[in-house]
């Protein structure tokens, strides 16, 4: 059987997209932790992803694939059981639209929330609110983006939204509330309660602690400069 490896960093939501997809399809893989990923880049990381030098990287039979959404499409094509995309091409296009929105907006916000300070941070908070409004108004309505079953759009968006919820706690801005975003709130609860996600997500306190320290270091550095 061809070897499947995932190189990831435990605090990163992007690696979990890949882990969830593989577990959903029952694909056996070896997980390799990129130790101290903020300060060190392993040889494997640099070799497998020379362009961006980031994790996650996915390696199948020795051949690397980089960029989590590209990896998800590869996994879907290579292991079609328990599909993560609908069969119908139009429905697939809808799913890909939401995945792209997640990539373009949510991923940018993810990094902004950690790294931005002052005015930039306020801008990020406003953009976060706008994104939630878009998802609430246009995106949600069923149990998951995929319908009754979890799908690729859920993995792509759910990962980032889960982490952003944690950031809300750290920066003291609570936005995902049932009263303001009922459908979004319900969707993220459905997502977090799904066994696939629940059993394969880092401990919340561990994440809070990690990002709190990270944020504190960044804010301190910004003040010092």
């Amino acid at each position: 059987m061809a070897e499947v490896k995932v190189l990831g960093a435990w605090p990163s939501p992007f690696g979990y997209r890949v882990i969830w997809a593989l577990k959903h399809k029952g694909v056996k893989f070896e997980y390799i932790e990129e130790e101290d990923h903020l300060n060190k880049k392993s040889k494997l990381r640099l070799q497998s992803n020379p362009v961006h030098q980031k994790v996650p990287v996915f390696i199948h039979d020795g051949k690397p694939v980089a960029e989590s959404t590209v990896i998800l499409e590869y996994i879907e094509e290579t292991w079609p059981q328990n599909p993560l995309l609908p069969q119908d091409p139009y429905e697939r296009a809808m799913a890909r639209f939401w995945i792209k929105l997640g990539e373009d907006k949510a991923t940018t916000l993810f990094f902004a929330f950690i790294r931005a300070v002052g005015e930039d941070h306020e801008k990020a908070t406003n953009e976060w609110k706008e994104l939630l409004q878009i998802l609430e108004k246009h995106g949600l309505g069923k149990k998951f983006f995929g319908g009754e079953e979890i799908g690729m759009a859920d993995l792509a968006l759910g990962s980032v939204v889960c982490w952003l919820e944690i950031f809300e706690e750290i920066v003291g801005v609570k936005m995902i509330e049932a009263v303001s975003f009922p459908r979004l709130h319900q969707w993220i609860q459905n997502f977090k309660q799904e066994p696939l996600i629940k059993d394969n997500i880092p401990d919340r306190q561990k994440l809070v602690s990690f990002f709190k320290h990270r944020r504190e270091a960044i804010v301190a550095a910004a003040k010092a400069s």
Partner: protein, 220 residues
Amino acid sequence: MEEVKLHGAWPSPFSYRIIWALQLKGIPYEYVEEDLSNKSSLLLQYNPVHRKIPVFLHGGKPVCESMVILEYIEEVWPNNPLLPNDPNERAVARFWAKFADDKGLSMWKMFRTEGNEQEKARTECQEMLRQLEEHWPAGKKFFGGGSIGMVDIALGGVAHWLPVIEEIVGVNILDPLAFPKLLKWIYNFKEEPIIKQNLPDQNEMFLFLKKQREILFLSP
């Protein structure tokens, strides 16, 4: 066959991505020109999230976002494929198509800004070209191989729009000494008959974009 329509705008490379895909696959379609300064209510109805072109309609159902539209077209009309057959090669193509789509925005940032912000965008644009040049697949006429593929289409903006932006903002990034493979590709891409017959006039574009930039920097 169900009706195929494209809502686009003549100065937009994103619009042309779809035109090229449809032409390469020989799919008949109706083209609707949108005035971006006065967007039609239909456009706002079809793309309520982004309110942008291109919007692709198949049997009346809208698909938005040019890269999502390309994947849809590829699936519904698999003739003259834009992606390779082999899954790993497809992943490599998708990686570079995403790269071109994400990083290509830097040229527009360069167009819309000045000073430090523009310098930053220019650096990003140069870095994008550097990565492309470094990782360009050896001995291939197009990124897709012998024929145009999804990556080539995604990079169309670099081929035809970046030179115009360069002239307007007064920079020179597409240096043939620094980017020989890329410049060769640009030539091959624009000489390909289907592309050559489906490109906006560069002079008209220069005048249009120059005016747009002037409007951007009019003092309030």
